[in-house]
Amino acid sequence: MSFFKKLKESISQKTETVTNKFKEGLTKTRTAFVERVEELILRRKKIDEAFYEELEEILIGADVGVNTVMTLIDELRVEVKKRKIEDASELQPVLSEKLIGLLKGDEDNKLHMEPSGLTVILFVGVNGVGKTTTIGKLAHKFKSEGKKVLMAAGDTFRAGAIEQLEVWGQRVGVDVIKQSSGADPAAVMYDAVQAAKQRGVDVLLCDTAGRLQNKANLMEELNKIYRVIQREVPSAPHEVLLVLDATTGQNALSQAKLFGEKSGVSGLVLTKLDGTAKGGIVIAIRNELQLPVKLVGLGEKMDDLQEFDSEQFVHALFAGLIQSAEGEQSDS
């Protein structure tokens, strides 16, 4: 049966550094979330209303999302009745199974790249989530993989945004296509795509200004940027990544929905995940929006931006559970 064993095997094939990055980055989430669930199950022997309520609070406290939590709890209630579970400890495997089910998906977490030729990646999101920083880090990553990278300074609105991207460009040794502050971002994108074609660039990373998803006009502007890119390179943008701040609460769902409508979001980048106990938002988004998380920011350093790997995520999150599951197996 061992799901955990399979998981462990597939993890062990992956590089240790990446595994450690996930483990370290998710320490906070693990203590706040998984360990609290374990503690609850140990402390409360009986499954009663108070138990459910506490479980609910732990899950909501990790920003799992009210809707998802309510469904999960209802499902648990049904299972408990069906299997006539009375002891809280018997509930643990059921609960872990359900949680992992929510986290594990079959969708592709890899970035979708053009096999030969230009790949265009557009970054969108609300203000202050870390779009520019993510682009800087990603440029570094592609560059160190030996790819030719170009960045487009599409945030012509916020003071200092173009300069910020330029500093990143100097740091990682990547050119930035820009116009002056206040210019039409769609025009910047046009220039950038042309330049990328001429120079035979492999990856073009497009920055955009942060905007709140309920601002109709700004969302239209984003739509225009999207269309301009699409017109110049029909298969582009190959990825539209919505950058989300992991400390964001329920509003993340509204962001994903509205940005999705206007710019065809194809995946998510979750930033600042290391600082919070809120890996839970991954569950909420996955469950309610069916959008794959593609990249996660697990730290401040340049190489702390990692491709999201649901197996790694589950492994890092449920490290304790996996050990106990193994213990049970060797017993039997």
Partner: protein, 460 residues
């Protein structure tokens, strides 16, 4: 994620209670579950919710509901009052040092909006004839200093920088000296964003705090923050002793439960809110409005205030008279449209109305500013006489208007038809309202309601 608003939810719970004298504990429990969900959905921290519910429950058990047709409203009233109280006093002022300059330290997570808020704060102070100095202590994020410089330039406030090679502690010290020398009465220290768990950076912030000895330490919090808001506020508070909070990005569609969480764990007042990306002064925080917003009940009060400050009372009264007597002409129509537009972008206005957020989602009301300009163009293409006497608009006149406004005859026809309908409606309304009409301060509101209500019947 369709959120129905607490009002309708509670009404469902209480619907079956009609006729009962007092709320039993069980009834209250059921209602409290709805309140709890509403608060959790608004991102209020679950611990804060728990305490809050306990408090409200106490008050709600045994509350008289017979007098009210809608027991739900009684509970909402209790919840609303309690929420408002929890969020603290209205309109906190900035502290002022006896020996200027007054020093304000801005702190918060990355991307919360510290630098933009610093600019807005400076602008607010300048409006009151103060001379703030902005000190750029964010040496980590690329071009953060540049951002502050551009903002300072835009509002005409001086910015003190020492590049990104000097330690923030030194910059703060030198910035303070600079302010004293140049006679600035306020010093706003913009710091780098940092995670509350980053010990090294928090230590640095503590040192800046020591050197600057600020009169105000403002925590800048993104209104969209989720459950983590509590931990963030707690650690910043324990290290820096916050004196206030600035809530940013409140113009988004978040319900902003973080405000409540932050207030509950730190006990420090939320002093200001920041909306919009343009550098405009910070706005004062209104607990009661925030309470309605968290509960999903719209921001009626802000709308009314906006209307009151923007709409000329005399004109409104005159307009109301015209509406009542159905003397309303295209000239008045144009004027009203301009007044409504002065209030701000229509979609933002609609957001403030209870229940409107939902309608917009349904795409029934598509607010299209361009369409409004088109309507405006049509009306402006009419002659003076035509505006006053719309009934003379015959086919050839309509054709001319269409050509003049760059629209089609169909569009002109539609507008005229709607205008007529609107007039008819007004007549009906005025007979309902009676000859006197509403009094005093309510006038603006009724006028607004009329305008918006009608406005929505229009093609925008």
């Amino acid at each position: 994620m369709a959120f129905e608003g607490l009002t309708s939810r509670l009404q469902n719970v209480f619907g079956k209670l009609r006729g009962k004298g007092k709320l039993s504990e069980e009834d209250v429990n059921e209602a409290m579950r709805e309140v709890r969900l509403a608060l959790l959905e608004a991102d209020v921290n679950f611990k804060v919710v728990k305490d809050f519910i306990a408090k409200v429950k106490e008050q709600a058990v045994g509350a008289e509901v017979t007098k009210s047709f809608t027991p739900g409203m009684v509970v909402i009233d209790i919840v609303n009052k309690e929420l408002t109280e929890l969020m603290g006093g209205t309109q906190s002022k900035l502290a002022k040092s006896n020996r200027p300059p007054t020093v304000i330290l801005m702190a918060g997570l990355q991307g919360a909006g510290k630098t933009t808020s610093s600019g807005k704060l400076a602008k607010m102070l300048m409006k009151d004839k103060h001379r703030p100095l902005l000190v750029a202590c964010d040496i980590y994020r690329p071009a953060a200093i540049k951002q502050l410089q551009v903002l300072g330039e835009g509002i005409g406030a001086p910015v003190f920088t020492m590049g990104d090679k000097t330690s923030p502690v030194e910059i703060a010290r030198a910035g303070l000296a600079h302010a004293k020398e140049h006679g600035n009465d306020y010093v706003i220290i913009d710091t780098a964003g940092r995670l509350h768990i980053d010990e090294a950076l928090m230590e640095e912030l503590r040192q800046v705090h020591e050197v600057a000895n600020p009169d105000e330490v403002l925590l800048v919090v993104d209104a969209m923050t989720g459950q983590e808001a509590v931990n963030v506020a707690q650690s910043f508070h324990s290290q820096l002793e916050l004196t206030g909070v600035v809530l940013t990005k409140l113009d988004g569609d978040t319900r902003g439960g973080a405000a409540l969480s932050v207030k509950a764990v730190t006990g420090t007042p939320i002093k200001f809110v920041a909306t919009g990306e343009k550098i405009e002064p910070l706005e004062p925080f209104h607990p009661s409005r925030m309470a309605s917003r968290i509960l999903g009940m719209g921001d009626m009060l802000s709308l009314i205030e906006k209307a009151q400050s923007n709409i000329d009372a005399e004109k409104a009264a005159e307009m109301e008279r015209k509406m009542r007597t159905a003397e309303f002409t295209f000239e008045d129509f144009l004027e009203q449209m301009e007044q409504v537009r002065n209030l701000g972008p229509l979609d933002q206005l609609l957001d403030m109305l209870p229940g409107m957020g939902k309608m917009k989602d349904m795409k029934n009301v598509k607010v299209d500013e361009k369409q409004i300009s088109r309507v405006e163009a049509i009306v402006k293409s009419m002659t003076k006489v035509e505006k006053q006497k719309p009934e003379i608009l015959n086919h050839s006149r309509r054709k001319r208007i269409a050509a003049g406004s760059g629209t089609s005859i169909a569009e002109v026809n539609r507008l005229i038809k709607q205008f007529d309908d609107m007039k008819k409606m007004m007549k009906q309304f005025s007979s309902m309202m009676g000859p006197k009409g509403p009094k005093g301060g309510m006038k603006g509101l009724k006028g607004m309601k009329g305008m918006l209500g009608k406005g929505m019947k229009f093609p925008f």
